[in-house]
């Protein structure tokens, strides 16, 4: 356990150093959320209708940003050898990396998401649910995204490949999270969407570490 805490803290320190990971993700998120009213009819009524959807799409895009560095940096400088050799298993290392990635990027984005949605005209009463769905969905983004990052190891232009692999897999959380918000705004039952989103996240957290560890071993062999 202490070894996993060690790698978690190291990943956080690396995310903050050299390029200020969380601030970068939030800046990108704000930029995408701002582009939407600029590109369409900025009347309050129109924007309010798509506010939560925009918040979720921007979330999915922003969570792609730092994925490339998740395994690639350790692969390039040889540290992945050290990490995979243990003592903790490769699966545990991958899971710790994903949780650190969520803490560094996903959690700050979940805090920014209600702000962006309300700025676009979503009702303030939605804010807590936006935060909760974004926080839960962000964990799924981190684990699924980490799988894409591990699969793209060693390929040039890994960032693009990761985006192409990962974005389709992010559509279920986007549908479920956005759906829960729409239902809540319409006064319908929103719990189902939240539960399904949580189920997707748990499934990703349970399965993806195995995929990531296998992909890392493959890249190192």
């Amino acid at each position: 356990m202490s070894a996993l805490w060690l790698i978690f803290r190291r990943e956080l320190a690396l995310a903050w150093s050299g390029g200020g990971g969380p601030l970068l993700a939030i800046g990108f998120y704000a930029a995408v959320a701002t582009l939407v009213p600029l590109s369409t009819d900025p009347s309050t009524h129109n924007l309010a209708a798509v506010a939560t959807g925009v918040a979720w799409v921007a979330l999915a895009l922003a969570s792609l940003l730092s994925l490339e560095r998740m395994f690639e940096r350790d692969f390039e400088d040889g540290a992945l050898d050290l990490l995979m050799l243990g003592p903790p298993s490769g699966e545990a290392v991958a899971a710790a990396k994903c949780l650190a990635h969520w803490t560094a990027a996903g959690a700050p984005l979940a805090l920014a998401a209600p702000l962006a949605a309300i700025a676009l005209g979503a009702p303030p009463a939605l804010a807590p649910l936006i935060f909760i769905t974004a926080a839960i969905g962000g964990v799924a983004f981190a684990f699924v995204g980490g799988t894409g990052a591990a699969l793209a190891l060693g390929s040039r232009r890994g960032g693009l490949i990761i985006a192409v692999i990962v974005l389709p897999l992010l559509s279920p959380p986007v549908i479920l999270g956005g759906g829960a918000l729409t239902a809540f705004a319409a006064g319908l039952s929103w719990q189902t969407g939240l539960l399904l989103l949580s189920a997707y996240t748990l499934g990703a957290a349970a399965l993806c570490p195995f995929f990531m560890a296998a992909a890392c071993r493959n890249a190192l062999s």
Partner: protein, 204 residues
């Protein structure tokens, strides 16, 4: 824990090419092996196969402890240091942060890390970012984890290439101490190791 290493009938293939086949090696505690051979003979691949990263085409790699054979995966997790061409150091972190991480990750503690840094003449450099260190200083920083977290089997790939004569001699003494304490060393080299070692030629 690991007191002997055995390689039996090993064949390793990289892509279309078989690097070597029917390769045998036995090493016991206190013994150093140097792997020599031309570029591309498979020295690095053999080290990575022993560390468990490359799956051999045929043959077996076995580890034994004082009480008999060890499960290979278990033996590797706590018993092997692999130092490849790269130093596994992050260039924008300080030498101190990177050394402490590597040592703690491999099972050592802070006091041992600082003592190893002192031994290798790194104490004054610990506050610097890794990118400000020379190649030789970075290599000494990577070697410090071998001293600070005790693991019996050292797999070294050209360990001394960036080091100057004085530091080569120093690391020779440290390897001799590791061997005297029951350790094993398998090193891929072009220049002889500064410690008594048995030579094995690959690709001959």
């Amino acid at each position: 824990m690991i007191v002997s290493l055995g390689v039996q009938g090993l064949a390793v293939r990289r892509g279309e090419r078989r690097l070597f086949e029917d390769f045998n090696l036995a090493a016991a505690a206190g013994e150093a092996i140097t792997l020599t051979g031309p570029n591309g003979a498979g020295k690095t691949s053999l080290l990575r196969a022993i560390a468990g990263f490359i799956r051999p085409e045929t043959g077996a790699i076995t580890f034994a402890g004082a009480d008999g054979a060890l499960e290979p995966e278990e033996a590797r997790r706590g018993g092997v240091h692999l130092l490849g061409h790269q130093d596994a150091l992050k260039s924008n972190r300080t030498a101190r942060d990177e050394l402490l991480f590597q040592v703690r990750w491999t099972g050592g503690d802070e006091a041992a890390a600082l003592a190893a840094a002192e031994t290798l003449g790194l104490a004054r450099l610990l506050g610097l970012a890794v990118r400000h260190l020379s190649a030789g200083q970075r290599r000494r920083l990577a070697l410090a984890r071998l001293l600070a977290s005790p693991r019996p089997l050292w797999l070294l790939d050209e360990p001394l290439a960036p080091l100057d004569a004085q530091n080569r001699a120093l690391f020779g003494e440290l390897m001799a101490a590791h061997l005297a304490g029951g350790g094993l060393v398998v090193a891929a080299v072009h220049d002889p190791l500064p410690v008594a070692a048995r030579g094995v030629e690959l690709g001959a």
